[in-house]
Symmetry: C2
């Protein structure tokens, strides 16, 4: 089955292919109109501080769902899903250090795990393209460039750090359109954090992103910066919890929620 | 000092008058352009479940701020405030039963208290009036009528219940305007939950609200229903916590955040 079919596939069918190991790669473009989500799994002992961190930093940590303690099923955004098996690649961090990548984390499951599903910029990129705003890293087949900034997160208990942003170069005449399209989708990062001069938010060199890959910026284009789902991961690495499980970059959880329904 | 001055007063000055006991009545209309908030104080042992309840029910429980454990100061929405003294009237509930009303709860303060400040419909009513949409209970000098519905809340741990809504009769030709104005303010309940037939959401008789007071509905007006900040209070009463402190109805916390800045 080729990629084209994955685009048109229903999320529940795709999750089954992930669960049985038929899909182990990045999920970009799969199940076109449906939202994909970042995953963070933490022990319950850290869940309150992390939930408060997301409440205090809604642009970088827009929550789509928080599981019940110990539950591998979700209640709201993905019917019949198993959060321990339905992501193509997971990462396990122990005390802030990545100790392994796995296609399935069922063997590591604990009764005190809480799963946080966080909105992803794939959702607003689909809307940008639909509105005629180009998305450079998609055109160039790269991972979106991401940068650490000097914009502090509001801390919560063990969790603190600075905001990580993703950058998309936007033709000058489409910057306003890019703001209005994304502002309408607060559950997937919402409006930009910053437009223009990278130095103003502590970014020294756009050619050297801290995560992802650099992209071409053409004459007449303005770099536009959005809060990024890597922010909570960076805060977790900083907090060095005994254990944390996340998705591997680009290997997202595909939900049953259409992007168009995140516009509220 | 008369009510007119309170309308133009800065929030910090008003909170000082509340703290010193000069103001002990309802806050409607005070500090005109600034948002007012509902208050819920719970012991930390219940704070995770309640925070999750607000995350799962964002229309009835739009959080403006959650305090640090034990802190009487806030970090984000009210500089220099003391949450134990700066509300004109508090209610204390023990095991779901109201055991007293106080103008100050400093004497009851505990190191494990967490304060939840929740957006209030006063904010969107100001915007409705500004947009030329009449607000009947303000015209008639009454408390807004509120009704229990058959719309279930998403439960979280100890907290569950059904959604409580407030109702405003809107002239037919202004219903769309009322939707768009309030949809732009998701942090203060956002767009309506329901338009029209009260029976469709389990309301038997508009003339007999469960909370607040009935208002006149004129020919050509449609009842429009918004999620209400009484919803979390009802869920708390149902959960019967050892202790909970709330504001008394209409006696709100006045924040430093302008309503216009809640439009995002």
């Amino acid at each position: 089955m080729d990629k084209l079919n994955y685009r048109d596939m229903k999320p529940a069918d795709l999750r089954l292919l992930v669960r049985t190991g038929e899909i182990t790669g990045p999920t970009a473009g799969m199940c076109g109109p449906y939202a994909q989500a970042n995953l963070v799994i933490l022990p319950k002992s850290l869940a309150y501080d992390f939930l408060l961190f997301t409440q205090r930093n809604p642009k970088s940590c827009p929550l789509l769902e928080v599981s019940d303690e110990g539950a591998r099923a979700l209640k709201f955004i993905a019917s019949g899903a198993d959060i321990a098996t339905d992501i193509p690649k997971y990462r396990i961090y122990e005390k802030g250090i990545m100790t392994g990548e796995y296609t399935d984390v069922a063997q590591f499951w604990r009764k005190d795990f809480v799963s946080f599903l966080i909105g992803c910029s794939f959702s607003f990129e689909a809307e940008l393209l639909e509105a005629g705003v180009p998305v450079r890293h998609i055109e160039e087949g790269r991972n979106v460039p991401m940068y650490r900034t000097n914009i502090p997160c509001a801390s919560a208990g063990a969790f603190h750090g600075s905001t990580v942003v993703s950058m998309r170069p936007i033709p000058r005449e489409l910057v306003v359109k890019a703001v209005t399209v994304t502002a309408a989708m607060p559950r997937v990062h919402g409006s930009p954090l910053h437009i223009g001069d990278p130095a103003a938010i502590g970014i020294a060199n756009l050619a050297k992103p801290d995560f992802g890959e650099a992209v071409t910026i053409n004459e007449g284009e303005v770099p536009v910066f959005w809060a990024c789902g890597v922010t909570p991961q960076a805060a977790i690495m900083e907090a060095k919890p005994e254990i944390a499980i996340t998705h591997a970059p680009g290997h997202m959880f595909v939900t049953d929620v259409k992007n168009v329904n995140l516009k509220e």
